[in-house]
């Protein structure tokens, strides 16, 4: 297995064995952080965040800094990008600073692949439009594996905005690489999982069902993991009807403490964060909530990837 110098654009770029190797290195990083504290010495990371995402950006930076690396501070907001510079030109300028890694987040689908094609150094996709967010997917897989011990035969409910939510798209596709997975998709009718994802899942032999928001409570009684995502107001028309539709949905799509009275004690609730009210706050304090651990796992995943792309831990 060889990771050195590779780009991380999409989870689809990795075989099942490679994903398992990344998850194993992640475990090692989590358990023995001391071992890797100088792993990035002399290396520079250049984050290019064309879209604001403090959470992801901080996680990448912390990963680099905690392993003795440095981070190039390139502020897009005040740079010439805002004066109409093209992505190609911005990337060419960054290349001149000789970074060892480039991290990109951009509103356009496919932008990470475009940048990776332009650069020789490893490029990591921190989210391109609605498309991919592979470090999120890897941390989701890592969390599920921690919770269950294995990814084979994962039974999971994916709920919320399944149409525009790229985290649920890539998680579903990534899980489909593993045998015997079962999924339930819960969403408003207007935000159902896109056809092309469903087709892909069918091809891989995944068994799945699509359900409405009203089935949320029932589904968590029979499935051991639920992965919630937020539903944003902007997905609905700006009209009065859009407003009303969103209000109805916000009421129905709310995981409450009350609902958890009748579930198996082993139920795990995941969420990519930030949440906007789809999980009642009191749920955070229960043993069902695993989303804060999940967010923390992002740091370990990003550390593991930096180590692997730099040529460490190759098999």
């Amino acid at each position: 297995m060889n990771f050195k110098g590779r780009d991380v654009i999409s989870i689809e770029d990795f075989s099942l064995d490679e994903i398992e190797h990344i998850l194993n290195v992640t475990k090692e990083v989590e358990m023995y952080p001391e071992k890797f504290k100088n792993e990035m010495a002399g290396k520079i990371m250049s984050p290019l965040f064309f879209e604001n995402s403090t959470r992801t950006s901080s996680s990448f930076q912390a990963a680099m800094l905690q392993m003795g690396g440095r981070v190039l501070d390139f502020d897009i907001a005040t740079s010439s990008v805002n004066k109409g510079e093209t992505l190609r030109d911005t990337v060419k300028i960054i290349e001149g600073y000789n970074p060892d890694f480039v991290i990109i987040r951009h509103k356009r689908d496919g932008s990470a692949k475009f940048v990776a094609d332009l650069l020789d150094v490893p490029v990591m996709n921190a989210g391109d439009g609605q498309n991919q967010h592979p470090t999120q997917t890897l941390l989701d897989l890592y969390t599920i594996k921690e919770l269950r011990g294995s990814l084979d035969g994962t039974k999971i409910v994916l709920a919320g905005d399944l149409k525009y939510g790229r985290t649920v798209h890539s998680l579903a596709l990534a899980l489909s690489k593993y045998p015997r997975c079962e999924m339930v998709f819960i969403s408003p009718d207007s935000l159902r999982m896109p056809k092309y994802i469903l087709n892909e899942l069918s091809k891989k032999g995944v068994s799945f069902q699509e359900k409405g928001l009203e089935e949320l409570e029932l589904s968590i009684r029979s499935f051991p993991i639920i992965y919630m995502t937020r539903i944003q107001r902007e997905r609905f028309p700006e009209s009065l009807e859009g407003e009303q539709e969103y209000e109805v949905i916000s009421k129905v799509y709310r995981l409450s403490l009350e609902m958890l009275k009748n579930v198996n004690h082993e139920l795990k609730i995941m969420h990519p964060l930030p949440k906007v009210g789809e999980i009642e706050e009191s749920v955070d304090e229960t043993n069902f909530a695993h989303y804060f651990q999940q967010a923390k796992n992002g740091l370990y995943i990003r550390k593991a990837l930096l180590i692997l792309l730099a040529g460490g831990k190759d098999e």
Binding site: S10, E12, G84, T86, L87, R88, H106, K107, R108, D109, G110, S111, K113, F114, D128, G129, Q130, N131, Q132, Y196
Partner: protein, 152 residues
């Protein structure tokens, strides 16, 4: 046989076995419309042994570039393309959908390749069975969603 269905060609090209309904679009994207040069004859809805119903396109005084042959393949993969000189067929062109092409746009509007400011060439892969895949955003789309660079 087809030569007898519509107008006679002395020197030019004949595209036969075009799926019914596609001949008008093909003429347009090849530039053989009212703006183009040469005498164009179009026919549609004829019985065909090869496909269900077919259209035929003949253009006097025209030749076909590699690019145009690719466009024909995209619209009518099973079409036969003949070059006519002095009233006889002197060459039959093989057409094939290119594996990677810059001549069709990705149909995902949010794709970086559709960003007017960045001005990239699209990169679309043909995966067979009428399925196209954008190399940038990895979105899959079908033949009916094709938009052609420089035309649409």
């Amino acid at each position: 046989m087809s030569e007898k269905i519509i107008g006679y060609i002395e020197n030019g090209i004949v595209v036969d076995h075009i799926p019914q309904g596609e001949v008008w679009k093909l003429a347009r994207i090849l530039g053989f419309d009212s703006k183009g040069e040469g005498r164009v004859s179009l026919g549609d809805g004829y019985a065909s042994q090869k496909i269900d119903k077919k259209g035929i396109l003949k253009v006097e005084g025209a030749s076909l570039s590699e690019y145009q042959l690719n466009l024909i393949a995209l619209i009518a993969e099973n079409a036969s393309v003949s070059i006519v000189e002095n009233g006889v067929v002197v060459d039959k062109k093989k057409i094939e959908i290119p594996k990677l092409m810059k001549i069709v746009y990705c149909n995902n509007q949010n794709c970086i390749s559709n960003d007017a400011h960045e001005k990239l060439d699209p990169k679309v892969n043909y995966k067979g069975d009428g399925i196209f895949l954008c190399d940038y955003c990895k979105r899959i789309f079908g033949k009916k969603d094709l938009k052609f660079v420089g035309i649409d």
